[in-house]
């Protein structure tokens, strides 16, 4: 009977739960879904990470290539993120060029990288005006169940942390690059941005980490990205109903707590990689 009610009146169904301060899957309003992280699974990529937040699964593969630095910034490299939502992850996505959601997510990730100064771009430069690294971060969603942006940020961060770039020197005689695959080093990550997504129902109730259903029924969506020094990196609120300042502050505080949780998870996984070697 509940299943029938859920299909006929999804909004009422959710409202009944929210009145009792809980959600259909049994979570509290401020509770995130269990998050798991797996790194270094793809051997063909320089760095890789797979993150699962509840059912939402995202895999990020990092490939490093060589190119000439941009003419307006000869001592910097490139980081090119791209989010893809293939028809594999949900029946709502059709094959073909990236839709609105994928493009918006890609741009958001690019903004987070730039505004949080995640990686020092000067480090990616090998020889000024001649050679630099371009890091292609391809983020692919394997299962879409809401909260895409948070999961993408965690996957990107984990992939960058465990990425290993081979050493490149420029041969003075031939002026060509020489790559040594045996010597590899990690990238230096300056900041660790972590995002938290919220959904607003009926202009009053704010829930954390919405599933795909909750996202489609919400009246507004909000993503807050903070870094380890409790500073704000980015706030993304694409339209929707307005939010009062105190609600926004409450969301930011929740994002800060989420940051410590994810940081612990990341450190645990990185340490386990080191001990296994």
């Amino acid at each position: 009977m509940a299943a029938g009610f859920k299909t006929a009146e999804p909004l009422e169904y959710h409202r009944r739960f929210l009145k009792e301060n809980c959600r259909p899957d049994g979570r509290e309003l401020g509770e995130f879904r269990p998050t798991t992280l797996n790194i270094n699974s793809i051997n063909t990529a320089n760095g890789s990470a797979m993150v699962k937040v509840g059912n939402t699964t995202v895999i990020c593969g990092l490939k490093a290539e060589l190119t000439m630095p941009p003419s307006d910034a000869p001592s910097k490299g490139y980081i090119v993120p791209n989010v893809d939502l293939p028809p594999l992850c949900s029946s709502r996505f059709r094959p073909g060029p990236p839709g609105e959601q994928a493009q918006a997510a890609s741009q958001f990730i690019a903004d987070v990288i730039e505004s949080s100064d995640l990686v020092n771009m000067e480090e990616l430069c090998i020889e000024k005006a001649k050679l630099c690294w371009v890091l292609y971060c391809d983020i692919m969603c394997l299962d879409y169940d809401g909260n895409l942006l948070d999961t993408c940020i965690i996957a990107l961060l984990a992939a960058l942390k465990n990425a290993q770039l081979p050493e490149v020197t420029i041969n003075k005689d031939t002026d060509l690059a020489e790559v040594d695959m045996k010597k590899k080093k990690h990238l230096k990550i300056n900041r660790h941005p972590v995002g938290s997504s919220f959904a607003v129902f009926d202009d009053t109730i704010t829930i954390v980490d919405p599933t795909a259903e909750e996202e489609s029924l919400s009246t507004a969506l909000l993503t807050v990205v903070t870094d380890e020094e409790d500073r704000l990196c980015a706030v993304h609120k694409p339209g929707g109903t307005s939010l009062s300042a105190e609600k926004l502050q409450h969301c930011i505080n929740r994002a800060v707590t989420r940051h410590t949780e994810i940081n612990k998870l990341l450190n645990k996984v990185m340490d386990s990689m080191k001990t296994s070697k």
Partner: protein, 270 residues
């Protein structure tokens, strides 16, 4: 690379660092000695029911090759003009993730992927009871996360496991197996380096790759893909070896499907 306005732009051109390897520091190519024989297939890890949004899904790992597949449907056909009133349609989409190969692939689907999608469709169609789904279409989406050889063969197996997991009626599971003919010896289930072969050997005789799709219980071949130049007798032997290869791994896939069914519909408590 065609100009892609819908994605974040990077530099116009970039080269893989593998092109610049110092000649004395080329990594050693691995051989099969000691790890497995020429006629041995790689051990396989298969699981069904991983994607919550899909009707059926399967994940397959053979050595380093990682493939995930999801099945959606049956749903109403998109293109009404081609609707066949009596049978359903199978739509296959084969994709290689950009980070799956040694050289980064482009996002836009290339001719290789379209070719593989067509081969996949051809191999799966005989196995599915399409006459039971008139006027509908079943979508099969395959994504290769890491390419370490024999992707078409493993994709066929992964796709049919996903179809079975999704409850689509089939005559039989379709299993795939690949083989690389290298002169007088053949390597079953080749890895990426074995598939590409040595450039020197490429000038020799009898070089090629064979991929076979088999329905094990009916012992019928639903798909055969051979490339390269091979002698007639080595081709027939290769087909027979592939069929054996399919049968060898059949119990593993059976176990994976039984496990998935038990999870979805647990047997009644005694």
């Amino acid at each position: 690379m065609p100009f892609d306005t819908k994605r974040i732009r990077g530099p116009e051109e970039s080269q893989s660092p593998l092109l610049f390897l110092s000649p004395d520091k080329v990594p050693e190519s691995s051989s099969r000695q000691g790890v497995r024989g020429n006629g041995d297939v790689r051990p396989v890890f298969a699981r069904c029911g991983l994607i919550s949004q899909a009707k059926g899904s399967a994940y397959l790992e053979a050595g380093n090759t990682k493939i995930i597949c999801s099945v959606y449907g049956p749903k109403e056909t998109e293109r009404k003009d081609e609707t066949d009133m009596k049978t359903g349609r199978l739509v296959c989409d084969f994709r290689l993730a950009p980070f799956s190969c040694l050289k980064r692939g482009a996002w836009i689907q290339g001719s290789e992927e379209r070719d593989l999608s067509a081969a996949l469709l051809e191999s799966l169609q005989p196995g599915v009871c399409l006459h039971k789904y008139p006027r509908s279409q079943i979508e099969v989406n395959v994504m290769v996360l890491e390419n370490d050889g024999s992707i078409l063969a493993h994709a066929i197996t992964c796709a049919s496991m996903a179809l079975a997991d999704g409850g689509i009626e089939m005559y039989d599971v379709v299993l795939g197996c690949a083989l690389r003919q290298n002169g007088d010896s053949c390597l079953v289930d080749p890895s990426y380096t074995e598939e590409c072969g040595n450039w020197q050997a490429g000038y020799g005789e009898n070089q090629g790759c064979v991929t076979l799709a088999l329905l094990p219980n009916l012992n019928q071949v639903s798909g055969l893909n051979a490339e390269g130049e091979m002698r007639e007798d080595s081709l027939t032997d290769a087909v027979r070896t592939c069929m054996d290869g399919c049968h060898k791994l059949y119990p593993v896939y059976q176990q994976a499907l039984i496990r998935a069914v038990k999870k979805k519909a647990p047997p009644p408590e005694k």
